[in-house]
């Protein structure tokens, strides 16, 4: 026989278990939904040492001053993915770090919020500012090599494609911008006649180095492989190259010949959970001290004229886009061509990657 006491005790215990379950599930959902409330922005950059630099130069001081928390995502170059995310209404990002060509494709897809650029001025190149974007620095991708493996170095895109004369594993990021153009330059197309891109010719040229080249999913993967000595030469973001050279992991050198220039812009996607704070962060990025810090950490050229004018010749001689580093093969991506043909070229590039 059970007594009433037993019954109430049992009920009490059941109640306690139920309460525990509710509390547990509550804590689980509370932990999950944390990031989207006001006062926190999610920034899509490129991870690794780049993220560390941007965090130290821009977001740490910004967060300190405004109390807005910044979360980091590394899908900044996944243009197709970001477009898809915005179109399916699941945009979780507030601020995207975009180079020329991705900006062109974002604009073509219509996924950006117009930015009120009133009060934003002092740009060295005001023509780079668009209705949807604010330029914050100019960067380059350069040809680089491991001095232990390629004694003579590289002087041109033709050298990178000369697998017989300069043997060794090539490494690049699996993003087409600059690589398609570089293949055409290596094949003899003059720099001023690159556009419209002859894709058939570019892919045919790329076929010739396919077996000697590893394409990495991201800048971080490429940087990692170079640091481990797996890659003898290639084409990559200058900041990453400098970061490896500085770490001393492998002896790395680069050339300004054939460097590809691009303006880096900050944009806010449609459906961003916290657009106003993202805009504040963009404004913050133009402060002279932030611009200076970015230059010191990444080695890229400030977009603010006042900062750029204050630099000495020695500093300018190692910055992308200055007269000192201009070369015959240096070129800029044609934003209009990529805006119109980017989606198709990307699909073809993706198919070629797996071939």
């Amino acid at each position: 026989m059970r007594t009433t006491l037993d019954v109430t005790r049992g009920r009490r215990r059941a109640g306690a278990v139920l309460a525990a379950v509710v509390v547990a599930l509550g804590s689980l959902t509370a932990c999950s939904g944390g990031g989207d409330e006001k006062g926190s922005i999610t920034y899509a950059g490129f991870g690794g040492t780049y993220e560390e630099a941007v965090k130290a130069a821009l977001f740490d001081p910004y967060s300190k001053e405004t109390d807005v928390k910044v979360l980091y995502d590394s899908s900044g170059s996944d243009v197709a993915k970001l477009v898809q995310m915005s179109k399916s209404g699941s945009m979780t990002l507030d601020l995207i770090d975009a180079e020329d060509s991705s900006l062109a494709q974002f604009m073509a897809a219509g996924i950006l919020q117009p930015i009120d650029t009133k009060g934003l001025d002092g740009f060295a190149d005001p023509s780079a500012v668009t209705e949807y974007s604010v330029p914050w620095y100019t960067f380059s991708r350069n040809l680089f090599w491991n001095k232990d493996e390629v004694a003579g170095g590289l002087d041109s895109w033709a050298d990178l494609f000369d697998t017989k004369g300069i043997p060794g594993k090539r490494g690049m990021v699996a993003l087409p911008w600059g690589i398609l153009e570089g293949a055409l330059i290596a094949d003899g197309v003059p720099v001023d006649q690159l556009y419209p891109l002859d894709l058939d010719r570019a892919f045919a040229k790329l076929d010739t180095i396919r077996n000697d080249t590893v394409f990495f999913p991201s800048n971080g993967d490429l940087q990692n492989a170079i640091s481990q000595g797996e890659i003898a030469m290639g084409y990559g973001n200058l900041a990453r190259i400098k970061s490896i050279a500085k770490s001393g992991a492998v002896p790395l050198d680069y050339t300004w010949e054939g460097a590809v220039l691009s303006v880096q812009q900050l944009v806010i996607p449609k459906g961003a959970p916290d657009g106003p704070d993202a805009l504040n962060a963009i404004k913050y990025s133009l402060k002279p001290e932030v611009q200076k810090a970015i230059m010191d950490k990444l080695g890229y050229t400030p977009s603010q004229k006042s900062v750029l004018d204050g630099l000495d010749a020695k500093t300018r001689a190692d910055l992308p886009g200055t007269e000192e580093t201009a070369s015959d093969e240096t070129f800029r991506i044609d934003v209009d061509w990529w805006a119109k043909n980017g989606a198709d070229a990307l699909k073809r590039w993706q198919d070629w990657q797996h071939a």
């Binding site: 995502d73 993915k81 699941s90 990692n224 492989a225 481990q228 992991a249 071939a355």
Partner: protein, 594 residues
């Protein structure tokens, strides 16, 4: 006589119908106790995968566009063929290395058996990410293998970012899956028949080739199918070590979803991968008559009774037998030490990658050079920063939730299958429960991602917990079911006749008696979630980051020896637990003998 359902889980199973006079109807409610687990697996696992498959013909427009792109483009076809070839090569390597080890694990002395078991289980319990890191160091351009090659004055070989690194690392990963069914079969075969053959005049090699090898064929088959199926679904290893030349379908699915947002192509590739696995498993079942559950449960022993084991062998085997006879006459095979030495050497080879990380963890630089340059403890202090401790906390919390949820659901499902009365229902339940174990996780992860994105569960702890529960259920279910099968139902009937309701039976009789199974199952559930990398890589992101996801980032985006520190900690934990367990057993033995 008054009884009231008082157990905390009263809501989960109906109270037994009471009838006057203390007599009870035979409890039939166990059939229903599997429902929560079945619902979870169906809704969280099967449904997303089904929708993913559907998407392959509806995205971006209705039609076979994705398949014509996938199968019409030589590159993607290469990728499919490469996936099959790499998996087959890894399976073969695992078989060649695994057979001698399995043999000594069964027939060797106590010391050898223990050593080999540790050598096999230690890597098995180490995260696949940490093992990939070890291989990255070993096979790297500045790693020990290439250092050795350079000693001989040869050019270093590029192995990382080629299929070589993938096959080496994958076969190492698959080895336990090959050895467990092999060893089970060998144990069932025993050595009596070999002794009979020897007494009839066969030499050791001949007896082995003509008698032993054919008898262990079911184990070879089960092991090979398991390895092949798991190899085809590999994702982390090719993603980290394969580069563009060693990429497999798993990495194609990942990059299509996460980088290009090309869900159509990803789902077509996922469908191809899933179909490959299903075809292999079904063909295997047709050939051997072994059930999926048996295969997944890796019980090769049951297979020895299958009709095919009696089918001796073809011409190849006869030829091999003759060759072996020749070897016997030469007297080469008389040595009993040779196979043992071979097994020990292989065991050391399997275990060695574990230890390479210890010197790396004390490196002074970020470069993965072996032996490392300089000495520092900076990576140890880096581990104790929020960058690593936060993901660790997240992983532990998720794993605890998974353990509790999968533990309860899996145990109830096991009760439903073992104690249930409706046969077809039980078979369906057990197939559903084991499905997540055999089905390629990368396909499931793609399904989770695409479906969870729609309902806002991507990058949430709840999403990862739900996904991990389905992956942990097979372990809980099979371990608890095995425990239940060995439990005589007579105790429950006795309790029932004395008036205990089913919940009371479960709480007071069944659970205490199968407690060891439940503890083992919970441990498996915890480890499954804690170690899980594929789903975490797909589902965790900015707001939620598990430890495996953090390690994956460190491996792919940064060169970071902190990963080596984690390996060292994992090894230390495993050693402490193992020693503690051994001590515990010793103590129990002493207290019993007293």
């Amino acid at each position: 006589m008054t009884t009231t359902p008082t157990a905390p889980d009263a809501g989960l199973s109906r109270p037994a119908p009471r009838t006057p006079g203390g007599r009870r109807r035979r409890p039939r409610g166990w059939d229903l106790s599997g429902i929560p687990a079945v619902l979870v697996v169906t809704l969280v696992f099967v449904l997303p995968v089904a929708i993913l498959c559907l998407r392959s013909v509806t995205e971006p427009t209705f039609g076979l566009e994705n398949f014509t792109r996938l199968l019409g483009h030589s590159g993607y076809v290469d990728s499919i063929v490469r996936t099959i070839l790499i998996s087959a090569a890894s399976t073969l390597v695992a078989l060649v290395l695994g057979y001698p080890i399995a043999y000594q694990m069964v027939h060797g002395g106590t010391w050898l058996r223990t050593f080999l078991t540790v050598a096999i289980m230690a890597p098995y319990l180490t995260s696949i990410l940490l093992r990939s890191f070890s291989w990255l160091v070993i096979l790297g351009r500045q790693g020990p293998v290439n250092k050795l090659i350079e000693q001989f004055g040869l050019e270093p070989i590029a192995m990382v970012f080629t299929p070589i690194a993938v096959v080496v690392s994958l076969s190492h990963y698959l080895l336990p899956l090959m050895i467990l069914p092999l060893a089970a079969t060998m144990r069932a075969v025993g050595d009596s028949r070999v002794r009979a053959a020897t007494s009839l005049g066969a030499g050791p090699a001949q007896a082995f080739v003509r008698i032993y090898l054919p008898l262990t064929k079911p184990g070879i088959q089960a092991g090979s199918v398991l390895c092949f199926v798991y190899g085809i679904g590999a994702f982390v290893i090719p993603a980290l070590l394969g580069g563009s030349k060693g990429s497999m379908l798993g990495s194609l699915i990942h990059s299509a979803i996460k980088q290009s947002g090309d869900y159509g192509l990803a789902s077509a590739a996922a469908l191809v991968l899933g179909a490959l696995v299903l075809v292999i498993v079904l063909a295997f079942q047709r050939l051997t008559g072994m059930s999926t559950t048996e295969l997944a449960g890796r019980s090769g022993a049951a297979a020895t009774r299958s009709r095919y084991s009696r089918r001796g062998g073809g011409r190849v085997l006869r030829l091999a037998g003759r060759a072996a006879g020749g070897l016997d006459r030469l007297g080469v095979t008389r040595s009993r030490g040779l196979p043992k030495a071979l097994a020990v050497a292989l065991g050391v080879l399997v275990l060695a990658p574990q230890f390479i990380v210890i010197p790396i963890s004390f490196a002074a630089t970020k470069a993965l050079v072996f032996p490392p340059v300089g000495y520092s403890t900076q990576w140890y202090s880096e581990f104790f920063t929020a960058s690593w401790l936060d993901p660790l906390t997240v992983s532990v919390r998720i794993a605890l939730f998974v353990t509790v949820i999968a533990g309860v659901l899996g145990t109830l499902a096991a009760m439903a299958v073992v104690r249930g009365t409706v046969h077809g229902w039980g078979a369906l339940t057990s197939t559903l429960m084991m499905l997540p174990l055999l089905f390629p996780t990368v396909v499931a992860a793609a399904g989770f991602y695409v479906e969870f994105e729609r309902i806002g569960l991507v990058d949430t702890e709840l999403g990862i917990v739900l996904a991990h529960v389905t992956l942990a259920l097979p372990f809980v279910f099979s371990v608890v079911a095995a425990g239940l099968r060995s439990l005589n139902p007579v105790y429950e009937r006795a309790a029932s006749s004395l008036g205990a309701s089913r919940t009371v039976q479960l709480r007071r009789i069944v659970l205490p008696l199968i407690a060891p199974s439940i503890v083992t199952a919970s441990l498996f559930a915890f480890l499954t979630s804690f170690d899980e990398s594929t789903v975490a890589i797909f589902l965790s992101g900015v707001h939620v980051k598990t430890l495996p996801k953090r390690i994956f980032e460190a491996l792919s985006l940064e060169t970071n020896p902190t990963v080596a520190v984690i390996s060292v900690f994992v090894m230390a934990c495993a050693a402490v637990i193992w020693l503690g367990f051994a001590l515990f057993r010793r103590l129990i033995k002493i207290s019993r003998s007293n």
